[in-house]
Structure formats: C-alpha cells, structure tokens
C-alpha cells in the first residue's frame, strides 16, 4: 500500500509533485503548526508594527506587533480544518442524496434534481452572504454554510456518475437478484465512483478555502479572537500601503494551499466540473 502510493507519487509530472508537496506541507502545518509556533498567538512581542523579516520574527510583525509566523501557523489550522470538514460534509451529503436519487426512481430524482438545479443557479458567494446575514458566523455555522453552499455542485456530479452506473448490467443483475436499494447504492454503485468523487472532494476543498477566506477577509467569516488566514489578511489591510509582509504572507499561504491542491488534482487527471467561485 505504502509502496504503491510512493510509486504513484513518483510517476506524477513535476507540477503534480509540486502540488503533492504543497498539500502535504499544509496538512502538516495544520496538524503540527501551532506546536511549532515561536510565540503565543495573541502575544504582543515586537516593538514595531509591520516589521519586516528578521531573525526574531521570520515573517515580521503584524498591525499590533504580534508575531506573524505564529499567527499564520495557527490560522492555517482554522483554514485547513474548517475547509476540510466542510468539504467532507458537502461531499458526503451531496453523494448520499445523489445515490438516493439514482436508486429511488423518478419520483425521488425529479424533485431533488430540480431543487439542486435551482440552488446551483445562485452564485456561491452571494448565497453564503445571504446565509451569513440570516444565521451569523460562528465557527460551526460557517462550516454548515460552506458545506450547504457546495452540496448542489457535488450532487450534480455524483448524480451523473450514479445514474450512469445504475444502468450498468452488473447493477441490473444485482437488482434481479433481489438486492435492496440500500445495498445497491452502497455496495454496487458507490465503490465505482470513488475516484472521481475524491477529485471532486479536492475541488470542493479549494472552493471552500477560497469562500471562507473571502468571507473572513470581508469580516463576515471567522470572528476574533479566532483567526483563519483570511482574517489575517483583513486585520493587516492597513499595512497594504507600505507593502507589509504581514498582509502578503497569509495571502500567499492561501494561494499555495489552493494552487497545490489544484495542481495535484490536475496531475492525477480526474478533472471534475462544477460550480466555481
């Protein structure tokens, strides 16, 4: 298993290797980052605000004189963790509904697909803004809002895959054998759509990272004292005029994370399609 994963990684084109390295790097940062932080997240440790790079502060200091590197390591955990959880929730919900539609017949499929088509025609950022205005933006709600926004996209792809598979001979055989709908959905159809679904999960993750950091950037996402990478960009926006590292570092961090995932998915070669940002 390990050996085959290693073989596969070695067979990737250069862009895919870069992508994989970035993904592994950010996963590691999300897990271990806060332990490696040189200073406490909220501590005022520098005498100057918007300090440049120095030996004491590798990424300088922020608008209150806090250590940017420490805040970035902690912010990455919020960004990666929230987005991964939301993408997982969106994918499992969308796929579960898609399987229900595929084995449930037209009576289930028609209304469900109509509803999802309607939701997909609301631009994701606009939809999430309305949801945030109505419900607020605690961490739990943000997770649910991001997941809910991207369920329809996953549903559309998973349904297309599942409906195709449901027509295959081996599924017809299972049906003739008298297998129940649940068994057909889980044991016959689902295993054969895992690969494209994984690629779609990666895409959802990218969309959700961009959505959540966009919301945080607008001040409508993760609220202080918690801070994800988007909040770090927002709180240091006054440093933009002097080109502060404090604003550039978190923005570049988000970009390397999302670009990494994108490069990896592209190199693996299951190009899913769906609603973008």
């Amino acid at each position: 298993m390990m050996a085959s994963a290693f073989q596969r990684a070695k067979a990737l084109p250069v862009s895919g290797k870069v992508g994989l390295a970035l993904v592994i790097f950010w996963l590691a940062v999300a897990v271990f980052g806060p332990m490696l932080a040189p200073y406490p997240v909220g501590a005022f440790v520098a005498y100057d605000v918007f300090d440049g790079q120095s030996a004491k502060h590798w990424l300088g200091s922020d608008y209150l004189g806090r250590d940017v590197l420490s805040r970035l390591l902690s912010g990455a955990r919020y960004t990666v963790g929230l987005a991964a959880a939301a993408a997982l929730l969106a994918s499992t919900t969308g796929t579960a509904l898609a399987l229900t539609a595929a084995v449930g017949g037209a009576k289930v499929d028609e209304p469900l697909s109509r509803f999802m088509d309607m939701l997909i025609s609301i631009p994701s950022k606009i939809f999430s803004l309305v949801l945030v205005a109505a419900f607020g933006s605690s961490l739990g709600l943000l997770l649910l809002i991001a997941a809910f926004t991207y369920v329809p996209g996953n549903y559309r792809i998973a349904r297309a895959l599942a409906v195709n598979l449901a027509q295959m001979d081996y599924v017809q055989v299972a049906r003739a054998r008298g297998e129940g709908r649940f068994h057909i959905a889980i044991a016959e159809i689902l295993p054969n759509m895992i690969h494209p679904l994984l690629a779609d999960f990666g895409l959802r993750f990218v969309f959700i990272v961009l959505l959540l950091s966009g919301l945080s950037f607008l001040g409508l996402g993760v609220q202080p004292p918690d801070a994800d990478l988007g909040s770090l960009v927002r709180e240091n926006i006054s440093g933009l005029g002097e080109g502060a590292l404090a604003i550039l570092a978190p923005a570049v961090a988000i970009a390397t994370l999302t670009v990494g995932v994108n490069l990896l998915i592209d190199a693996i070669g299951f190009s899913g399609k769906g609603k973008g940002r």
């Binding site: 609301i122 205005a133 109505a134 966009g214 999302t258 490069l263 592209d266």
Partner: protein, 326 residues
C-alpha cells in the same frame, strides 16, 4: 426545399430557446422564494432590532404592523415579489430610503466595472486560449496550463494585494483606492478604476482562457481539420478560416460562463478598493443586517448569473447544426 427545412430548423431552435427562457424565469422565481425564506428566518425580527432592547411590546407591535411584519409569510412574499417586479423592493432599514434609490446609485458603477473588465479580459483570454490550443502539448501550452490552473485557485485579494504593491507602492502609477464619481473626467476615472479592473480581469482571464482552449481543441480533433492539414493548409489559416467559424459558438458559451466569475470576484474587489458598487453595497447590507436591501442585491446578482447562463445555453442551441439542419 432547403429554405423550408431551414425555416423548420429555425423554429425548432426558437421553441428550444423559448423553453430555456421560460425555465430561467421559473428558476428565478424559485430563487426568489429561497432567498426570501432564508432572509426571513431571522431569529429576531427587524422591528425588534430597529427599536432596540428597551422598546415596550406595544411599540414593537406597532412598528411590526407599520412594516407589515404581522402579515403571514406568503402574503409578505407576494407583496415583496410584486414590489421587486415593479421596481420598488421596499425600504432600506439602515439608509432609511427606498432600496430602489440606494441601488440606482450603485448599479451603474458595477455594470461599468464589469463591462470594462470584460473588455480587457475577453481579448487577452482569446489570445491565450487560441495560442495554447495551437501549441497543444508544447512548452508554451504546458506553461500556460500551469499558470492558468494556478490563477483559477488564487484568492482575489492576493491578486489585488500584489497589484497594489506593484503599481501603487513600488511604481506609484495608480492610486490604491478606487475613486469613482460622476463629475470625474474619463481619464481620471480610468486611472481610478484601473486596479479593480486589472484584478477582476486576471481572475476571469484564467478561467476564460482554459475554456477557450478546450473549445478550440475540441474542434481540432474533428475530421475536417485533419482534412485541411492533409491538404497542406498553413496552421494559422486552419485556425482562422476553418476552426474559428465553428468554434465561435463554444467560445461565446465559454465567455458567458466565465464572466459569471465577475459576480463573485466583484464582492471582494469592490470591498478591497472601496469601489462604490453593488457588491460592496451588499456586503454592507450583510454587516448591518439590512434585509430588504440584501434581498434586492442578491436578486440582482442571481438574475445577472441566470442571464449569463441563458446566453451560454442559447448560443449552444443556435450552434447545434442538428437543430439548424432539421
């Protein structure tokens, strides 16, 4: 007979377009219901919020009545929808003036920004898309693929930040805050909005170039192109004379689809540059929980999105030779 068959083909296409248009309208209606339901699910209500905690229940009830909040939800929905259609989506709670006036002030700014960004993005995206399709599998194509693939995933505010760093901090060519007002001349206006346009274009170009490349490559694999190659037609001529006429519709389709990225991008870009447009207005409405204003802005964005999707589908229908030739 050719004339008759063309006519029936056209009418078949028209029927399809009519159906597509009707389904867009139906979707818009359903979207309006969804937005209304979500926006009205508020834990507190607007009357309570407007009066604050110290208000007596009688005061709240009186204001609720005045604002029409004591009517059943479906009645409120119908009157809101009727207001939206007739151009009067209610009263903005925060600005204390009609939503239509607040929006009328901002909408032209956003439309202008979108139009100018599209004007920049379309030719650049076409050049990149066609260029990399002609170089398919080559070095330039692979490099452009990596660049556009990365740009698709870069957050808008990073593009904006880098643009500000380069053009206003280092080079000092452009102001870092967008300035737009009616009394400005065109030159000043363009200087003021250059940065938002640049940022929005970069976001759209990446997506548009990828889709243009796909549309052109789809044509390249057709037998008629192979025929032209075997005849010895020059590559540039193949693209311009043989492929482009057939790829126009898929490219227009791709343009319409990727222009929808402007809608989401505008939310961030208008805010970061302080541009007085509809998207920054909507963000303010979220912050102040000004629901009538928010609902109206959301509906305008959804309508714009549906119009772009409609254009994309209609070009696809018109381009389908099976429909034209039926």
């Amino acid at each position: 007979m050719a004339g008759a068959s063309t006519r029936s083909g056209m009418s078949a296409a028209l029927t399809l377009i009519g159906k597509r248009f009707a389904s867009s309208l139906l979707t818009l209606l359903l979207v309006s219901m969804t937005i209304f339901v979500i926006a009205q699910l508020l834990p507190g209500d607007a009357a309570q919020e407007a009066l604050g905690q110290s208000a007596t229940p009688e005061q709240v009830a009186a204001l609720r009545h005045e604002m029409g909040l004591d009517r059943p939800a479906h009645v409120r929905y119908v009157s809101w929808l009727a207001g939206m259609v007739s151009g009067d989506p209610g009263q903005s709670l925060v600005a204390n003036m009609p939503v239509s006036e607040v929006i009328a002030e901002r909408l032209p700014n956003s439309l202008l920004l979108a139009a100018l960004s599209a004007l920049v993005a379309v030719p650049v995206a076409l050049a990149i898309g066609i260029g990399s399709a002609m170089n398919r599998g080559g070095r330039i194509d692979r490099a452009l693929n990596i660049v556009t693939l990365s740009m698709v995933a870069v957050p808008e505010f990073l593009v904006a930040t880098i643009a500000v760093l380069i053009f206003s901090v280092k080079l000092r060519w452009l102001p870092s805050i967008a300035m737009a007002s009616s009394d400005m001349g065109w030159g000043d206006y363009l200087r003021g909005v250059a940065m938002p346009i640049l940022t929005l274009s970069v976001i759209v170009i990446a997506q548009m170039a990828r889709m243009t490349r796909a549309a052109v490559i789809d044509q390249m694999d057709r037998p008629y192109v192979e025929m032209a190659v075997l005849k010895g037609v020059a590559p540039v001529r193949i693209v311009l004379r043989h492929i482009m006429p057939n790829a126009i519709a898929p490219i227009v389709n791709a343009m319409a689809l990727s222009l929808s990225y402007l809608l989401g991008g505008a939310v961030i870009v208008e805010t970061i540059f302080n541009y007085p447009g509809l998207a920054s207005l909507m963000v303010n409405a979220v912050t102040s929980r000004d629901m009538p204003l928010l609902q109206a802005c959301a509906m305008i964005f959804c309508a714009a999105y549906l119009i772009l999707m409609l254009i994309a589908d209609v070009t696809a229908i018109l381009a389908n030779p099976r429909l034209r030739a039926q």
